[in-house]
Amino acid sequence: MSDNHDLDRTIGRVLGPAEEELGCEACFELLDRYVELELVGEDADAAVPGLRAHLEGCPACREEHDSLYALVRGDRAR
């Protein structure tokens, strides 16, 4: 079953997100706003359409999003 799960994940990476998405450059430009909206519980996906889909399709931007989210959240918890 894990083989099938791995295969599904590979197919998912090959096909990428189904939704319209931003590119890497636009993602970088808008990432700080998106993360702050997420942290205050606002609808970041509505405010910055296409960014969530890009994070699903781009592992590098996803990692940078996750780091920024964690860093800013940690700052606010101090």
């Binding site: 099938n4 990476r13 096909l15 931003l22 450059e25 970088f28 808008l30 592992p59 700052d75």
Partner: protein, 228 residues
């Protein structure tokens, strides 16, 4: 950030609105940062020193997050990477200060430069000396995969159609980029460096390849809308 091509596909194209938000009023802390960095003399020097310390903290944060995946790197190497990332981020932030439009706090905006610089350097270091699989035979990892004896017929059909679509509808460059990034897991910054291009340009190629594959599978009546 040198990602090259701009957005892959502008969301909601009918609106013809840039995804970049209009300038917003700065919060007091951000206003103070920007004023000090645009100032002169010792006030500016002191602000730059504070900014560098902030960026160094962010780059060290990124290094610490990735440290478990980099067991072959020594502490000194990681410290050097964090310092280089903070220095490069400082240059970028100062060069792009006029681009800060108050869509977030200044510190959040600045952090992303340091995290980006550190992440790119660490990905490249992790792949330093490693072969980047680009040759056609690396494609066999996926092309020979079996859906397993108990797999649904739907998955087998999708897999077969996907193999054919990759072989028949993509250009050689699209196939090479897709296989390296999506099948073999080569980090996009590493591939961009090896191919002499940018992250943004590579992602555009990947996006176009994915779109072709989805279109072809849809044309064949296969459901490619489900989340995987």
């Amino acid at each position: 950030m040198s990602t090259g091509a701009a957005s892959v596909r502008v969301v909601e194209p009918a609106s013809a609105v840039s995804p970049i938000p209009p300038p917003a009023p700065l919060d007091p802390d951000s206003r103070e940062w920007v004023a000090a960095l645009r100032g002169e003399g010792s006030k500016r020097d002191e602000a730059i020193a504070r900014l560098h310390a902030l960026l160094l903290r962010a780059s060290r944060f990124e290094v610490a997050r990735r440290r478990p995946t980099l067991p072959h790197l020594r502490g000194g190497d990681l410290d050097d990477i964090a310092a280089q990332a903070a220095g490069d981020a400082l240059v970028s932030v100062l060069r792009r200060l006029d681009d800060f439009r108050g869509a977030s706090r200044f510190t959040t905006w600045a952090y992303k430069f340091a995290l980006y610089e550190a992440a790119v350097k660490l990905r490249k270091r992790a792949w330093q000396g490693r072969e980047v699989p680009l040759e056609p035979e690396s494609w066999s990892v996926f092309s020979s995969a079996s859906a397993g004896p108990e797999a649904e017929a739907e998955r087998s059909e999708l897999l077969a159609a996907l193999r054919s679509a990759i072989d028949e509808t993509l250009t050689p460059h699209q196939r090479r980029v897709l296989v390296a990034l999506a099948v073999n897991g080569v980090p996009i910054d590493v591939l961009a460096e090896r191919l002499g291009t940018s992250r943004g340009a590579l992602y555009k190629t990947l996006h176009d390849a994915r779109r072709k594959l989805r279109d072809e599978l849809s044309r064949q009546g296969l459901d490619v809308t489900e989340e995987r």
